[in-house]
């Protein structure tokens, strides 16, 4: 009797391991659930037949392994999608192309925050100055706070690519980051000197 139970237990342990092992591969391949099975839509609603299934639209775009399984910035850069920038007449659309290097002294690789990719999608006022002040070092950024859904975590983990993608933010080496910061400082000093000479 005891022996039989141990045998059954072993079966279950192996089953759990096999199931756990098969899950990452199930997640790794792209798949989108049909509207009726998404857990949000009421299967009795007439909308289930009318709404577009995510797979129909998203499977044609630049693939990714997380979030919507679409690499949205690439899809935009390659012209696969052409989302409108404004609908009201007279709205100024601004794109700012400047990188900010963060986390130069952490245990994780530094973070290169790209303004270009963000301002293609977002307005300055979506971040400045409520979420982030512009002054370097004035924001007390922290991974703990980000994981709580503040700072970068307002969007990443909600709508933009999720926080499980560490290396997409911790995306550069210390040498490169320090060299880039030095270049930026030199450029700024030169611009200032030019301004003063005039």
């Amino acid at each position: 009797m005891v022996k039989r139970q141990v045998g059954l237990l072993r079966v279950w342990v192996v089953a759990v391991l096999v199931a756990a092992g098969s899950m990452p591969s199930a997640w790794a391949q792209q798949r989108w659930l049909p509207i009726a099975e998404d857990g949000l839509r009421d299967p009795a609603s007439p909308a289930v037949r009318l709404l577009q299934p995510p797979e129909e639209a998203l499977s044609k775009l630049e693939p990714d392994t997380a979030g919507n399984q679409v690499r949205w910035v690439k899809a935009l850069d390659k012209g696969q999608i052409e989302p409108r920038s404004s609908i009201l007449p007279g709205t100024e659309v601004e794109v700012y192309d400047g990188d900010v290097y963060l986390n130069l002294r952490g245990g994780m690789p530094p973070v290169r925050f790209p303004h270009r990719e963000h301002t293609l999608w977002l307005a300055c006022s979506n971040c400045h100055d409520e979420i982030f002040k512009k002054e370097p070092g004035s924001n007390k950024l922290s991974m703990f706070v980000i994981l709580q859904g503040e700072q970068c975590g307002v969007c990443h983990g909600a709508v933009a690519f999720p926080l499980t993608e560490c290396s997409r933010c911790h995306n550069t080496t210390r040498e490169e980051a320090l060299a880039a910061v030095e270049r930026q400082q030199a450029e700024r000093a030169a611009a200032k000197a030019k301004g003063a000479a005039r």
Binding site: V11, V14, A15, L40, P83, L122
Partner: protein, 126 residues
């Protein structure tokens, strides 16, 4: 011995199935501050569908949607008068507000918030 392996495989398939519950698409938002109280299904807003057509700045800057699920007090009168969803769902940019079921499509009882599987739980709930 072979029977035992068959059991293992079946049990693994069963576990894998229950471990993967139905997941809504990443970044779907449920709006349900008033709908159900007033006898309508909760509203489901799909970010993926809209961001193919509009950049974030259109809704979150021009139209003034606050970036926090549940933070916007949206009433049907607002929408019919052209605010919030009604800026576009006016019969010109997109179909008009008389298509009740397309927006009010959620399962009864859904709480307001952002959905989308293990990766999304939104601000404050990672």
């Amino acid at each position: 011995m072979t029977v035992r392996w068959l059991v293992v495989v079946l049990a693994a398939m069963f576990l894998a199935l229950i471990a993967m519950p139905a997941q809504s698409e990443y970044a779907d938002v449920v709006l349900n501050r008033f709908s159900e109280k007033e006898g309508m299904r909760p509203v489901v807003f799909p970010h993926w569908f809209h961001r193919i057509r509009f950049r974030c700045k259109v809704c979150h800057s021009e139209l003034g949607f606050k970036m926090r699920a549940g933070a916007n007090e949206v009433r049907m009168t607002d929408i019919i008068e052209g605010r919030f969803c009604g800026m576009c769902h006016d019969g010109q940019i997109a179909w008009a507000a008389d298509n009740c079921d397309l927006c009010h499509s959620g399962k009864p009882g859904l709480p307001p918030g952002i959905f989308g599987g293990h990766e999304t739980s939104g601000p404050g709930r990672w």
